[in-house]
């Protein structure tokens, strides 16, 4: 009997070690990306840490279900879910979408006629705090798309996987998010 039980324990340890090794190669390399996404979805760093920790435990428990490709998108999907759980609990209003998300008749036209070069130069000098506030003010679907692309550097395919929308939607959300930011960051209207 003691032998049998010992063998079983050994087997369990081996499985656990395998999970840990996978966790180390699949999840941990993307911890910074996880943190950056959670930081912008929750809106603050302390809650981002909680969300990331919870997501990593979810990832550890589900590591066997990982199919071996697009590790970063897989991990960020889990972080996004954890962040949404947090939002539902703590910022339910943030998930109520007022805008018609995919409508594209956005500011674009009205800012299109300003002179190109000085405007771009002014955007380049925008204050970091102001940029942060402008991003924080974006509706969640725009914000996550923008952060996944411009902060995390994911391509449209991966963003589509993480957010569960078609690639065309990724591009249109990105366009709208960026236009809103440009409108906000633009120096005062004359």
């Amino acid at each position: 009997m003691p032998f049998g039980r010992g063998a079983q324990n050994d087997a369990r340890c081996v499985i656990r070690d395998e999970d840990q090794a996978r966790f180390q190669t699949v999840v941990l390399p993307h911890l910074d990306d996880c943190y950056r996404l959670a930081r912008w979805l929750t809106g603050n760093r302390a809650d981002a840490e909680d969300v990331v920790q919870e997501a990593c435990l979810d990832a550890f428990r589900g590591i066997k279900g990982f199919n071996g490709s697009h590790a970063r998108a897989w991990v960020l999907t889990i972080v996004r879910h954890a962040a949404y759980r947090w939002l539902r609990k703590n910022r339910p209003a943030a998930l109520v979408v007022v805008d018609d998300l995919e409508a594209l008749s956005v500011p674009g036209a009205q800012i299109a006629d300003s002179a190109a070069t000085p405007e771009a130069a002014l955007i380049a000098q925008a204050d970091t705090a102001r940029l942060g506030q402008a991003i924080a003010a974006l509706p969640v679907p725009f914000r996550e798309t923008l952060v996944l692309r411009d902060v995390n550097g994911l391509d449209y395919r991966d963003i589509a996987d993480v957010t569960g929308v078609p690639i065309g939607t990724v591009m249109s959300r990105l366009a709208r998010a960026r236009r809103r930011l440009i409108t906000t960051l633009r120096p005062n209207d004359p």
């Binding site: 840990q20 943190y35 760093r45 435990l57 006629d113 190109a116 411009d150 902060v151």
Partner: protein, 250 residues
């Protein structure tokens, strides 16, 4: 790669273009459109500036080291004991500095060791511990009974919140091999340890400074009290006055 979109969506495709998501044929087509349309060119330079801005300012933020450590511990990747936190290290360095500077601090001058030095040592130890109390409560009806059975006589416990010294809790200190009840009070960000030792002799109130801490000693009803804090002497005096004036709990 993005599927062909209607030509009117060129301003949308600018984004796919800048993100390198257009196939070469569409990218070329869009470049021509940008060259021919100043509004489109403006959208491109604005968007490019924004992308660069976000990348420069926000893309390099790293996860805090503590988060990585906690996650590694949570999944069993760290089996060693957790490393001491910065605050503990800071407290330890303070202790080392105190030990290095006060040459007399650890030397036992007389066969009978100085109680004041011991209550200071207990106070220091409490500051370094995860929490300075064994029982944490602002309710004296919780704190006082906690001492029963732990020390021969539970101390007088009063709440001095109104006087600006809220009760934080209590703990057992050891002074001269004797378990001694110690109450912990707060004042702004500072802590006061108040140890109560049964005494036969009555001493006049006395004040001194040990290792940078103010120590105040007085006797009431056959109990000798020692208050230790990094508070200023006058604040500690006010505390003692408030404590002595407060009605013993009945």
């Amino acid at each position: 790669m993005i599927a062909p979109a209607p030509r009117s969506d060129n301003s949308l495709l600018v984004h796919g273009y800048l993100d390198g998501e257009l196939d070469p044929a569409h990218a070329l087509e869009l470049e021509r459109a940008i060259a021919a349309d100043p509004a489109l060119a403006a959208e491109r330079s604005r968007t490019q500036a924004l992308r660069d801005l976000i990348h420069d300012r926000l893309a390099s933020e790293r996860a805090p080291a503590g988060l990585r450590t906690r996650i590694e511990s949570a999944v069993g990747l760290r089996r060693e004991r957790p490393r001491p936190s910065w605050s503990m290290l800071a407290a330890a360095s303070v202790l080392v500095a105190v030990m290095a500077s006060g040459t007399t601090w650890l030397t036992v001058r007389e066969p009978q060791t100085d109680a004041a030095e011991m209550v200071v040592a207990d106070h220091l130890r409490a500051l370094m511990a995860p929490q300075p109390t064994d029982v944490s409560s602002s309710d004296r009806h919780t704190v006082k009974p906690w001492f029963n059975g732990r020390v021969p006589q539970a101390p007088k416990v009063v709440d001095l919140t109104r006087e600006g010294y809220p009760l934080i809790g209590g703990r057992i200190d050891v002074v001269g091999r004797m378990p001694v009840p110690t109450l912990v009070y707060g004042h702004n960000q500072h802590l006061i340890s108040l140890s109560a030792i049964p005494a036969t002799s009555v001493n006049a109130p006395a004040r001194r400074t040990i290792a940078g801490f103010n120590v105040l000693e007085w006797s009431d009803n056959a109990v000798r009290y020692w208050a230790v804090s990094d508070l200023g002497a006058s604040d500690l005096d006010s505390f003692a006055k408030a404590f002595r004036a407060a009605e013993p709990d009945g």
